[in-house]
C-alpha cells in the first residue's frame, strides 16, 4: 500500500481510538468537580465520595489518552507533515491554547487526586475547577484544526501556477463561523456520552448499596442537559457547514448521514428523558451510552469521510489528500502494521488489567500508614 493509503488508515485508526479516551477524559473532568461542588454545597458526602471514585478512573484513562495523543502527533508528522505544519503554523495560537490546556489539566488532575482529604475543601474545589478548565481548553484549541479543514477561515490559501500555499492572514481563526458550534458541540457531546456511561456505573454501585440514589439524580440531570445542548449545537454546526462548507454538506446529505445523525441525536435525547423513569434507568442509561457514543463517532466519521478526496475543503472543492501526503519516501509498511498490532494487543492487556484492578480484585484504598518501608 502507498503512503496515502497507510496515512489515511493510520490517522483514522489512531484518531478514533484517541477520540474515545479524550471524550471520557473531558466528560469526567467536567463531571467530577460538579459532583464535588454539589456534594459540598448540599452537604451530601456521597457525591464527594463518588467524585473521588470517578477520579481514579479518570487518571487511568487520561494516561491512555495521552499516549494516543503522541501517536496522533507522530502519525501526522510522519504521514501528513505539510498538514501538521499548516495546523501548527496558521493555527499557532489555538494549538498553543490546547497545549496549555493539557498542561493545566494534567498538573491539576494529579494534585486533585493526591490531595483528597489533605486540602481544605474549597481549595480542593478550585483545583478541580482548574482541571475542568484545562480539559475544556483542549478541544477549544484542537477544534480550530477541524474547523479550518472544513472551512479555512483565517487562513490564506494561495494557488500560484499549480503550487499551493497556506499562510496566516489577518482574520482571526477564532471567528471562523464553523469553529464555535464545533467547540460547543464537542464539549456537550463528550459530557453527554460520559454522563450516560457514568449513570450506568452509578446505577451499579447504587444497586450494590455502596452509594445512595442522590448520585443518580445528579448524573441523569447532567445527561439530559448535555444531550439537549448537544442536539442544539449539532443543528447549528450542520447549518454552518451548509453555509460555509458546501462540499461536506452535499456529501453528508447525499448518503443520508446527516439525517441518521439527527435521528440518533433525537434517540439520545429521548433516552436521556427516559432516565427519569424510575424503573427504566438502567436500560435507558445502557442504551443511551451506546447510542450517544455511536452518534458521536458516526457524526465524526461521516464529517471526515465527506471531505475525501480532499483533506482541506474550500467551498465546493479543496486540497486533495494526495497533495498533503508525505512524498519523501515510502514509509515501510511494517511500521504502521506493527503499530496497529501492538495497539490492539496492548488495548486488550489494558482492558484485562482494568478488569483485574476494578472487578476481579478491586483496589482497596491504602491505609493512612502506607507500607512503604
Amino acid at each position: 500500500m502507498s503512503n496515502l493509503e497507510w496515512g489515511l488508515i493510520g490517522i483514522a485508526f489512531t484518531f478514533f481510538a484517541h477520540y474515545f479516551f479524550v471524550t471520557i477524559v473531558l466528560g469526567l473532568s467536567i463531571l467530577i468537580p460538579i459532583f464535588e461542588i454539589w456534594g459540598r454545597l448540599k452537604k451530601k458526602e456521597e457525591n464527594v465520595a463518588f467524585a473521588r471514585k470517578l477520579t481514579s478512573y479518570l487518571i487511568r484513562v487520561d494516561l491512555f489518552a495521552g499516549v494516543l495523543a503522541t501517536w496522533l502527533t507522530v502519525f501526522l508528522a510522519g504521514y501528513w507533515p505539510s498538514l501538521l505544519f499548516t495546523a501548527t503554523d496558521t493555527l499557532f495560537y489555538p494549538v498553543s491554547i490546547a497545549i496549555v490546556g493539557i498542561m493545566i489539566a494534567i498538573v491539576s488532575m494529579a494534585i486533585y487526586w493526591y490531595t483528597w482529604d489533605k486540602m481544605k475543601p474549597n481549595t480542593h474545589i478550585v483545583v478541580g475547577l482548574f482541571m475542568m478548565i484545562g480539559a475544556l481548553l483542549v478541544p477549544l484549541g484542537m477544534s480550530s484544526i477541524f474547523a479550518t479543514i472544513d472551512y479555512p477561515y483565517g487562513v490564506k490559501v494561495e494557488t500560484v501556477s499549480g503550487l499551493t500555499l497556506f499562510l496566516p492572514n489577518n482574520q482571526s481563526v477564532f471567528l471562523n463561523p464553523v469553529y464555535w458550534p464545533l467547540v460547543l458541540y464537542t464539549w456537550f457531546i463528550s459530557l453527554a456520552v460520559t454522563s450516560f456511561i457514568v449513570t450506568v456505573y452509578a446505577q451499579n454501585v447504587v444497586k450494590k448499596g455502596e452509594f445512595g440514589n442522590g448520585i443518580i439524580r445528579l448524573t441523569r440531570s447532567i445527561t439530559l442537559i448535555s444531550s439537549v445542548l448537544s442536539l442544539i449545537f449539532m443543528i447549528i454546526l450542520v447549518n454552518e457547514i451548509k453555509s460555509y462548507s458546501q462540499y461536506i454538506y452535499t456529501a453528508m446529505q447525499g448518503n443520508y448521514s446527516l439525517m441518521i445523525s439527527e435521528i440518533l441525536a433525537i434517540i439520545m435525547l429521548v433516552l436521556a428523558i427516559g432516565l427519569f423513569s424510575r424503573n427504566l434507568i438502567y436500560p435507558m442509561a445502557l442504551v443511551g451510552s451506546i447510542a450517544s457514543y455511536f452518534l458521536m463517532m458516526y457524526f465524526e466519521i461521516e464529517m471526515n469521510i465527506s471531505r475525501y478526496p480532499y483533506i482541506i475543503v474550500i467551498g465546493k472543492s479543496g486540497i486533495p489528500a494526495s497533495d498533503e501526503i508525505n512524498p519523501l519516501f515510502n514509509i515501510p509498511a511494517i511500521l504502521p502494521e506493527a503499530a496497529m498490532l501492538t495497539f490492539v494487543i496492548m488495548l486488550i492487556t489494558f482492558l484485562a488489567t482494568l478488569y483485574i484492578a476494578f472487578i476481579m480484585f478491586p483496589v482497596k484504598r491504602r491505609s493512612k500508614a502506607d507500607e512503604i518501608l
Binding site: 507522530v74 498538573v107 494529579a110 519523501l328 480484585f361 518501608l373
Partner: protein
C-alpha cells in the same frame, strides 16, 4: 517534477526573506522553555528507564532466594513508576508538542529521517504504559507466579528501553546526521568526515538547506515544498543503526541506572541514619541499589570513552571546545594517549579548522565562532561530568569492599570507616554526583551543537515558528513546566517520605 528555482520564485515569501534577527530572537527565547522542558522530562525519564532494572533485580533476587524482603522492596520501588511514568509521559508529550508547534520546521525531520524511530517509539510507549499498569496491578495477584509477573516486568524494561533508544537515535541523528555521506564535509563544515553511507539524496539536502536558510520554516506551509525534497532517502532505517545512536543510548542508559540507583540508595541510607525500618531490611536494599549503581559506574567510562571518540571524529569543533584546546591548539598527553596511543600528539585547535579550504563559508565561520564563545561553558560542563564520573568510579570500587577483603581494608584505611558505613554516606555523594554529571553531560552535548539543530545541515532560527515568541509566553510555559516538576516531586515525597515515621511506628 517541480523545479526548485521555479518554486522559490513563486513563493510570496521570496519577497520577504527570513528575518534572521527576529528568528534568532524567537529561537533564543524558545530555547529557555525547551531546555527547561527537556530537563523536567529527564527527571522523570531517569526513573522510567533506570528503575525497571532495579525493580526486576530485587524481584529476581527475592524469587531465587525465596526472601520476601526483596519482593517487598521490589513492590515499594515499583510504586515510583506510577508517578515517574505519568509525569514522564506528560512531559514527553509536551516536549513533542513543543517540537512541532514552537520548532515547527522540525516537522521536516520527523517526516524524513526520524519517521522510523518515532513510529517505533510509539509501540514502545504503549507497551510501557500498559505493562506498568499490569505489573503494578498484578503484584499480589500473581504472588504464586513470580516468573510470569517478572515477564511482565521485562515487558516494561523492554518498552522503556526501546522508547529511550528511539528518541536518542533521533537526537543522535541531529548530532551526527548519519547517512548523509560527504554532504556536510564537502559543502558546509570542511572538517567533518564522511557520515556513513550516502543514502540521503544530496540534491534534496541542498534544497532543504537553501529553503530553510533563506525563508525559514514558513516554506513548509506549502505541500509542494515536501515534493521538492522527494525522494529524500533510500534507507529510512539509517538513523536507528548509526554508531552515534548506539553509543548515545548505552551512555544514557548507564547514566539513568546510575542516577536512579544512587537516588534509591540515598533514600535507603536516609532511612538507616534516621532509624526508620529494620536495619537488615534496609541493608538488603542498599546492597542491591548501590550495587546496580556501582556496576553502571564502572561500565560508564567505557561508554563515555566511545562517545568522546565519536565527538573527536565527527564534531571536531565541539571536541576542541569541551577539551579546552583553544584557537592555537596544544598538547594533551592523556587525550593523545587515549586517541593515538602516544603522549605527543599535537591537537591543532580552531585556527586550523578555520584555515581549511572551504571554511570561509558563513556557516563554518558561525560554527567555529559559536564553539569558541561557548568553550568556557562546554569545558566546565564536560569536566564537571568527567570529575564526577571519577568520584562515582571510586564509590563503585569501594562497594566491592563488601565482598573483597582487600578493598574493605583499603576503604577502612583511607576513609576510616567500615565499607558498610562508607556506602551509607557514599550513596548521598553518588546521588549528587550522578545527577550533576548527567545534567552537565547533557548540557555539554546540546550546547555544543550550537548553532545547529541538525549538525551541519539546519540551524536553530531556520526551524523556529514564524510566529513571535514573546517573553510572557516563554515565562508562562516555563511556569507550567515547573508546576509539573513540583507536582511530580511532591508525588514522590507523598509516597516515599511523608508517612515514613508513621509507618515505622506501625511496623515496630
Amino acid at each position: 517534477m517541480l523545479d526548485p528555482t521555479v518554486f522559490f520564485n513563486l513563493l510570496p515569501m521570496n519577497k520577504i526573506p527570513l528575518d534572521l534577527s527576529s528568528a534568532w530572537k524567537n529561537a533564543n527565547l524558545a530555547e529557555y522553555m525547551t531546555i527547561l522542558g527537556i530537563y523536567v522530562h529527564a527527571v522523570f525519564l531517569v526513573f522510567a528507564v533506570g528503575f525497571p532494572i532495579l525493580v526486576l533485580a530485587l524481584e529476581a533476587i527475592g524469587t531465587i532466594k525465596k526472601d520476601n524482603d526483596y519482593i517487598k522492596l521490589a513492590k515499594n520501588a515499583s510504586k515510583i513508576w506510577g508517578i515517574s511514568f505519568a509525569a514522564g509521559a506528560v512531559t514527553g508529550t509536551l516536549v513533542e508538542f513543543g517540537l512541532v508547534v514552537v520548532w515547527s520546521g522540525s516537522i521536516a525531520l520527523i517526516a524524513s529521517m526520524a519517521a522510523a524511530p518515532l513510529i517505533i517509539e510509539l509501540y514502545a510507549f504503549i507497551i510501557e504504559i500498559v505493562l506498568i499498569g499490569t505489573y503494578l496491578t498484578t503484584f499480589d495477584v500473581l504472588k504464586n507466579h513470580r516468573i510470569i509477573h517478572m515477564l511482565i516486568g521485562f515487558g516494561v524494561l523492554f518498552g522503556s528501553n526501546l522508547s529511550a533508544y528511539m528518541i536518542l537515535a533521533v537526537n543522535a541523528w541531529m548530532q551526527v546526521p548519519w547517512g548523509t555521506g560527504n554532504f556536510v564535509g564537502q559543502n558546509i563544515l570542511p572538517w567533518v568526515p564522511t557520515m556513513g553511507p550516502d543514502v540521503v539524496n544530496s540534491k534534496s539536502l541542498g534544497i532543504l538547506a537553501t529553503a530553510l536558510s533563506n525563508y525559514g520554516s514558513v516554506v513548509l506551509a506549502s505541500p509542494n515544498a515536501f515534493q521538492l525534497l522527494a525522494p529524500f532517502t533510500t534507507d529510512p532505517w539509517i538513523a536507528i543503526v548509526s554508531p552515534e545512536a548506539i553509543i548515545t543510548y548505552i551512555h544514557n542508559l548507564l547514566a539513568a541506572v546510575i542516577d536512579s540507583s544512587f537516588i534509591a540508595a540515598s533514600y535507603v541510607s536516609y532511612k538507616i541514619l534516621k532509624g526508620y525500618g529494620k536495619y537488615e531490611y534496609n541493608l538488603k536494599a542498599l546492597k542491591v541499589t548501590f550495587g546496580a549503581g556501582a556496576i553502571a559506574s564502572i561500565l560508564q567510562p567505557i561508554a563515555g570513552d566511545q562517545q568522546g571518540r565519536l565527538l573527536y571524529e565527527f564534531q571536531r569543533n565541539i571536541f576542541y571546545a569541551t577539551e579546552g584546546i583553544g584557537p592555537n591548539g596544544g598538547y594533551n598527553p592523556i587525550l593523545s594517549f587515549l586517541l593515538y596511543g602516544n603522549f605527543n600528539h599535537y591537537f591543532r585547535g580552531f585556527n586550523y579548522l578555520e584555515s581549511l579550504p572551504g571554511s570561509n563559508n558563513p556557516y563554518a565561520q558561525m560554527t567555529i565562532q559559536a564553539s569558541m564563545t561557548y568553550e568556557p561553558w562546554l569545558h566546565f560542563f564536560y569536566y564537571t561530568m568527567v570529575i564526577l564520573g571519577v568520584v562515582l568510579f571510586i564509590l563503585a570500587i569501594a562497594y566491592f569492599g563488601l565482598y573483597i577483603k582487600l578493598i574493605d581494608r583499603l576503604v577502612k584505611a583511607i576513609f576510616r570507616r567500615s565499607t558498610e558505613r562508607f556506602l551509607i554516606y557514599g550513596s548521598f555523594i553518588g546521588a549528587f554526583s550522578g545527577v550533576v554529571a548527567s545534567i552537565s553531560g547533557w548540557a555539554a552535548r546540546e550546547m555544543g551543537r550550537h548553532p545547529w539543530t541538525i549538525y551541519g545541515l539546519v540551524t536553530y532560527p531556520e526551524v523556529i515558528t514564524p510566529h513571535p515568541i514573546t517573553i510572557w509566553f516563554t515565562i508562562m510555559i516555563m511556569l507550567i513546566e515547573l508546576a509539573i516538576l513540583f507536582a511530580g516531586l511532591w508525588g514522590f515525597y507523598m509516597i516515599y517520605l511523608k508517612n515514613l515515621k508513621k509507618n515505622t511506628e506501625v511496623v515496630e
